[in-house]
Every structure is written in C-alpha cells, then in structure tokens.
C-alpha cells in the first residue's frame, strides 16, 4: 500500500513538473506521447512493486530465438 502511494506521489510530481512545460510549447503530439508513456510506466511500476505477475518480455524473446540458439549450441558441440 505504502509502495503504491509512494509511486503515485512520484508520478504525480513528474506530471506536475512536465505538463506545464509541454503545454507552453503547445506540442499536441508530445503531450500525448508523454501521457501514454507515463500511464504505462505508472502501471508497470505499481505492478512490479506489488509483485503482480507481469508477462516478462524476455520470455517472449527466448521463445522466438530458442530454436536458433539450440541450433548454434548443437552445431558447435
């Protein structure tokens, strides 16, 4: 619980620090990219802090490249 609140405080601080600057420049695209990335980042941080099982990107890479890796391993044994 404390972890979640801490993370939320950090991300609110980032939002309050960055958004006025972005609004000043008037870049619509930049604001959208920043907001989406910040949202994903907040979710990810809270999920990891609460030890929720998040799909591991490395596992996907391992599934894709495993046949090739095994081939290299067999070829040079």
């Amino acid at each position: 619980m404390f972890k979640t609140i801490g993370i939320l405080i950090i991300f609110t601080a980032i939002l309050l620090f960055q958004l006025p600057k972005l609004k000043q420049n008037g870049e619509k695209k930049e604001i959208w990219t920043f907001s989406i990335l910040l949202f994903i980042s907040t979710t990810l941080c809270i999920a990891v802090a609460l030890k929720v099982k998040v799909p591991n990107p490395y596992d996907l890479i391992i599934v894709i490249f495993k046949p090739m890796g095994e081939f290299i391993k067999m070829a040079f044994k």
Binding site: I10, I14, E27, E30, V48, G69, F76, K77
Partner: protein
C-alpha cells in the same frame, strides 16, 4: 531539436568504453567455459573479426551520412515497414539496457553490498543515466573525456599490481581445443564486443563534427577496446587459471581480490570495480539514449526530453522482473543473446545495404 555534435576524439573514447562495457564482466567466464586456456586466442581472433564488422557498419552508416540509423531504416525500407522494424530495433536497445541494469545491480548485490535490495542500485544508477540523457549527448561525450583518464590509470594499475600473481603455466597446452569450439568462442566474443556497436550508427556519422575522420575514430576506439579486453581475458586465465575462471560469475572481480603487493596494498577490488562501473555506465547510457531519441525521431517530436522520466522509471521496474534469477540470465546470455543480437547487428544492416543498392538510394 538542436543538432548535437561530438568531436572525433570523443567518439573514439565512447566507442572504446562502450565496446568494453558488459563484455569485461561476462566474457572471461563464458569464453573459458567453451575454450578453456585458449580464451586469449579466441579474443584476438574475435577482435580481428570485430574490426571487419566495424568496416561493415561504416559502410552502412555511409549510405546516407546525414541520417541516423532510425531515420535511415525509415528512408530505405519505406514508411510503414520501416516504422515496424524501427520499433523492434528500439525494443532491442531498450531491453538490452534493462538487462545490463539488472546485471549491474546483481553484481553490486552479490559482491559488494549483499544486504541492499536490487532496486536501490538500479534506481540510483538510472537517476545518473536519466540526468545524463537530459543534458544530451554533448555533455555525455565531455564527461567520457573526463572518465577516460581515470579508466586508463586504473587499468594500468590493475595490470601492474596483478602481474606478480601471473602463472604462465596456466596457458599450456596452447591451441588444444577443437576448431568447432573455437568458432563457438569467437561467436560469443563478437556477440558481446562487436554486435552492440551497431547502435553507434545512431551518432555515426550524423553527429560527428568531421565525418571523414570519424571513420578513423571508430577503428581506433574498437582497436583500443579490443586490446583492453584481450589483456583482461588473458590475465584472468593467467591469474585464476581456466577452471577457476569458468566457474565464477564475475571472474575479473575475483582476480582483483587477489591483488596483494607486499601484504600492504590489498583489498582494492572495489576501486578496480570502478573500471566496469564506468564502462557499464557508458553502455547503459547509450542504449537508453538511443531508445529515447529513436522514439522521438520516429514520432517526429521536436524534443525528446519529456520521454526520459517515464521510460527511465519503467526501465527500473522492468529490471526488477526480467530475470527471476541468475541462472535465467546466464542461460539467456549463453544461448539466446547470439541469435537475438545477430538479428539486429548482422541481418538488419545487411538488409539495409541490399535494399539501398536495389532502390539506388544515394547519399546526398
């Protein structure tokens, strides 16, 4: 986005520190597992092949010297296919940076401060990297110029202090391994040393003040980095012996623990650890910088700085979960990393070269 320019000397230093990067910690153990006492032969051959790869990357970079790698992919492969490939490439750099962040935290946790949680190291280190990215590549390049003498002095001290412990018999018998395992060793070596250099195409030759001599800087940096790696791998075998080196996770750290000059200069391994903290900093910084700038370039944003904080913090979060344990990480490095990095470091530039030839895209 104001154009940021670095000098040739700064570029050479960055290439050198970058190519040493994680290889300094990973290679001695993985190489000796495969080829035992012949690790130094493999390292020498690996550096030579690595230089060929550098030549290859220079050719790719010169397809269109005014564009960075991300813009080049988009120009050569077209708007839609190019964008998809760029996204995969950026995921590659981002996840590699995350893996190294885990690696650094794991090193500190197992060898230096066993009571501290992993997130403390990743978080603190990431703050420095985010700060560096915020200030831009010019400031980063100047800071590497300051770090370089520190690195070089420490390296000289390291070699001089460890030299009394050298036992030349560990190298015998020379060239005893079969050719197959030597080729495997060379593959492992270049996948850590030369393949990641493809990321350098983001600044080469776009952000270099004299692109002509930038080529020379690329070679000099790679050669210097290669020589330092060869020296360290050879010293590991000479001091610890092939069997001991192969069984450790961080053999170069174990080697630094052996330093003892007249029972007076001892336990200086943490000073020596600065060697790989500096190089890991350069490597993680570069991976992170490329991911952030790359995203800004494909979305055609004017300023990349607003993306730093969200991406940096999720990198810290990811580094906590990508490897559940050290076995997972060692296995990933040994089996998956070679084909995974080769896809982006060999296949992608090759496709770029061929398609650019066919479509007759000329440098203007």
């Amino acid at each position: 986005m104001g154009k940021e320019i670095i000098s040739v000397r700064q570029f050479a230093i960055i290439v050198m520190l970058y190519s040493i990067g994680a290889a300094i910690l990973i290679l001695p153990a993985t190489l000796t597992q495969v080829v035992k006492q012949d690790a130094w032969v493999v390292a020498v051959l690996g550096v030579l092949i690595g230089l060929l790869l550098v030549k290859f990357y220079i050719t790719v970079g010169n397809i269109s010297p005014k564009l960075s790698l991300v813009q080049l992919i988009e120009k050569v492969l077209g708007k839609y296919v190019g964008k998809i490939i760029v996204i995969f490439f950026l995921i590659f750099t981002y996840l590699s940076g995350t893996g190294l962040l885990y690696f650094l935290g794991d090193f500190m946790r197992t060898e230096v401060m066993p009571e501290t949680p992993l997130v403390a190291f990743s978080g603190l280190f990431m703050i420095v990297i985010m700060f560096g990215t915020y200030l831009g590549i010019e400031t980063f390049a100047r800071s590497t110029e300051i770090l370089f003498p520190v690195f070089f002095l420490l390296f000289i001290f390291f070699v001089v202090f460890i030299s009394p412990q050298v036992d030349i018999e560990y190298l015998e018998p020379v060239l005893n391994s079969n050719p197959k395992s030597i080729i495997n060793g060379i593959l492992i070596f270049i996948s850590e040393f030369a393949f990641p250099l493809v990321v350098m195409l983001m600044v080469f030759p776009v952000a270099i003040n004299v692109p002509k001599s930038g080529t020379k800087g690329f070679y000099i940096g790679a050669i210097a980095g290669g020589i330092i790696l060869i020296t360290l791998i050879t010293l590991c075998v000479l001091v610890l012996g092939p069997t001991d080196t192969a069984h450790r996770v961080f053999p170069s750290y174990a080697m630094a623990q052996r330093i003892s000059i007249g029972n007076f200069i001892q336990r200086i391994e943490i000073t020596m650890a600065l060697l790989w903290i500096i190089t890991l900093y350069v490597r993680i910084f570069f991976y992170f910088h490329v991911s952030v700038v790359g995203i800004a370039q494909i979305l055609k944003l004017k300023n990349y700085r607003s993306l730093i904080l969200p991406l940096g913090l999720s990198m810290v979060a990811l580094s906590q979960m990508i490897h559940p344990d050290v076995i997972h990480q060692l296995k990933f490095n040994k089996e998956i990393w070679i084909p995974y990095s080769a896809t982006f470091a060999l296949l992608l530039p090759l496709v770029l070269l061929i398609v650019a030839k066919i479509r007759k895209i000329k440098s203007e």
